[in-house]
């Protein structure tokens, strides 16, 4: 085998310019794919991080049916105190859960005594919310990132619209579950950077204040946002939590709880999937480049060496050995292209990383791109390139091994 490899490699260097051009093409293709994967991956994970760490959490649990009507924030689909306790007990059994935040959500009216607009209120415990959403404090553009009783954090959108600042007195009015209306005065404790989507009108106040507005005698929870210590375990924890909560059934024998990952809650998931899809098609393009270039080179190699093939066949070289010789040439070209491509990609990603390239996403500005090459991506791309190289060399190799020695020797 080592002799075959030696001959194959020497054959490649026999046509230095052609080998250089082909391997350069493959290397550049590998480099572009890896850089794209690194940059797109960085963008994707940054966005996912922004969404999960500042708003959604990694997972959320609601009462079944709540998510379907989440836009109207129904009070009739809250978890009862007993159900919330059951859920809390289940969460305690999963060590991967780092923190969780119980939220009591409702829609209401927000007034500065002159003007009134609608608002979505999240009643939360401040410490729980910040532990679950570590980027939450960074959304506070004015005031303090604490949620104290009697205070409200309001989105920038409303603050600007109603000309409200930190320290202003405002009123929140909401319709209770029995249809009566209740209101309470708050002091604006902070202003939050708005986010794209329905969450852009979300205000935050203490959960006990929320209970008071809604005139709840005992605690009710609309949703529980959960943060994991390892995001990579998202789907494992999702499955485990569903399993733990599955015995809890309602009167109709249907599950009480609805457990979802961020993917089932954010429209950004579709953008993330589009990025994955684009990566897939970029990989397909690379496969096509490698396939065509290697096949072209190997067809040429066979055509140029017909007499040589005839000679080694006449000497007694088995057809399988001749086939292997050309397959190894294809393999070696693929390995060369993959190795050089990986090195180039590493260099480009390193340059991008130290260049601090920044971009804006929605109202988030100055997000610094942090592309990182994943070892698994490098291995996957390399393996794809090498396999495709061997596959591309297969047809010319088979053709060479099936040549009649007498005809090959006659070839001029």
């Amino acid at each position: 085998m080592s002799k075959l490899i030696k001959i194959a490699v020497r054959n490649l260097f026999r046509y230095k310019r052609r080998t250089l051009l082909t391997s350069s093409l493959i290397a550049i293709g590998v480099m572009f794919v890896l850089v794209f994967v690194a940059v797109a991956g960085s963008f994707k994970y940054m966005m996912v991080g922004q969404i999960t760490d500042s708003m959604l959490g990694h997972l959320q649990v609601h009462k079944r049916g709540y998510v379907a009507s989440i836009d109207s924030l129904p009070l009739t689909l809250n978890l009862t105190a007993d159900e919330a306790a059951t859920l809390e007990s289940a969460l305690g059994q999963i060590p991967e859960i780092e923190a969780f935040s119980s939220r009591l959500k409702f829609g209401g009216m927000f007034s500065n005594f002159i003007e009134t607009t609608n608002i979505r209120i999240n009643g939360v415990y401040g410490e729980e919310e910040i532990a679950t959403l570590p980027l939450f404090p960074s959304r506070v553009v004015e005031g303090e990132a604490t949620i104290r009783k009697g205070e409200i954090l309001i989105p920038e959108l409303l603050a600007n619209g109603l000309k409200v600042t930190v320290g202003s007195n405002v009123v929140v009015i909401a319709t209770n579950r029995d249809g009566s209306v209740n209101g309470r005065q708050f002091v604006v404790g902070g202003i939050l950077a708005s986010v794209t989507g329905p969450g852009g009108r979300d205000g935050y106040l203490h959960i006990e204040d929320a209970m008071e507005i809604l005139r709840l005698d005992e605690m009710e929870i609309s949703e529980v946002a959960i943060r994991l210590s390892d995001f990579g375990r998202l789907h494992d924890v999702n499955a485990r939590l569903k399993q733990l909560l599955s015995p809890e059934l309602d009167m109709q024998g249907k599950p009480v709880f609805d457990v979802r990952t961020w993917e089932g809650l954010s429209p950004f998931y579709n953008i993330a999937r589009m990025i994955d899809m684009m990566t897939f098609f970029i990989r397909l393009m690379l496969i096509a480049i490698v396939l065509v270039s290697i096949m072209n080179v190997m067809i040429m190699a066979v055509f140029e060496r017909i007499r040589e093939i005839g000679t080694i066949a006449a000497i007694g070289t088995l057809p399988g050995t001749i086939r292997s010789l050309f397959l190894i040439e294809g393999f070696a070209l693929g390995v060369l292209g993959a190795v050089v491509g990986n090195v180039l990609a590493w260099v480009v990603v390193a340059i991008l990383s130290i260049s601090n390239v920044s971009f804006n996403f929605g109202r988030e500005t100055g997000l610094v791109l942090a592309p990182r090459l994943q070892v698994e991506d490098m291995l996957l791309i390399s393996v794809i390139v090498i396999i495709v190289s061997v596959v591309a060399a297969l047809q010319p190799a088979i053709k060479a091994s099936r040549m009649e020695p007498v005809e090959a020797l006659r070839h001029v």
């Binding site: 020497r10 026999r14 007499r307 040589e308 000679t311 007694g316 009649e404 007498v406 020797l409």
Partner: protein
């Protein structure tokens, strides 16, 4: 017992719609340790006969037995194994592998065909390179040596596996007469020392004058078998 026995051997090629009879019902026998030549003008069928004996081609009719094997029934793989075990080839254009050195070219059949261990390969190759006179060229590539040396390397490659039969198609056609004589002399010596049969296809008088038996072909027909000067009893 004869090394090669041909009975009513014919070979017809199809060139488009035209059938060309390259060899017509030829019968002959060649004994072991012979030094023989097929001669005749271009198109007489001598190279075709050499290809048939070398299991590079299959006869259209008749039987051909080489080293007790009826070659027509061999598969592609069996034919390759048979060639590797019994035959050596010397080509008009030397056909050395350009990416291998002189030593590696001679080593090729032992390594890739016979799968011989390194020590054994060295034991076989070095004396052979010394015998054919290219030991000082062993690390050079074919492009770095002369035509005469290339043919000597080709002879060493053909002999390195101890074949029973060496087929040489116009081996001196690309050599000057002085070098041609030297090459023939080497082959003659090998035949005498190792008992290897050499069969040439040629119209080079230098070879014709050295062989023991001459098979004359004309239009694919064997028109005569004569003893050459090289025959000991002549």
């Amino acid at each position: 017992m004869s090394l090669i026995v041909a009975k009513d051997l014919s070979k017809t090629y199809s060139v488009g719609e035209i059938e060309v009879e390259a060899v017509k019902s030829v019968s002959f026998a060649i004994e072991p340790a012979s030094f023989v030549s097929f001669i005749g003008p271009s198109g007489s069928g001598k190279s075709t006969l050499l290809n048939l004996i070398g299991c590079l081609d299959k006869p259209t009719s008749g039987t051909l037995t080489v080293a007790d094997v009826v070659t027509a029934g061999l598969t592609r793989k069996e034919a390759a194994i048979f060639r590797g075990d019994n035959l050596g080839f010397i080509f008009q254009d030397f056909n050395l592998i350009p990416v291998l050195t002189v030593y590696e070219n001679v080593e090729y059949p032992l390594l890739m065909v016979k799968n011989a261990p390194a020590e054994e390969r060295k034991k076989r190759i070095i004396p052979l390179l010394e015998t054919v006179g290219v030991i000082d060229q062993k690390d050079k590539y074919p492009s770095q040596i002369s035509g005469g040396h290339k043919q000597r390397v080709a002879i060493a490659r053909a002999l390195v596996t101890n074949p029973r039969l060496v087929l040489a198609d116009e081996p001196t056609a690309n050599l000057d007469s002085k070098t041609a004589f030297k090459v023939i002399d080497i082959m003659r010596k090998m035949k005498d020392e190792l008992g290897i049969t050499f069969i040439f296809s040629t119209h080079d008088q230098a070879i014709v004058g050295e062989v023991e038996t001459i098979f004359s072909l004309h239009d694919g027909v064997l028109v005569g078998i004569t003893s050459g000067k090289g025959r000991d009893d002549v």
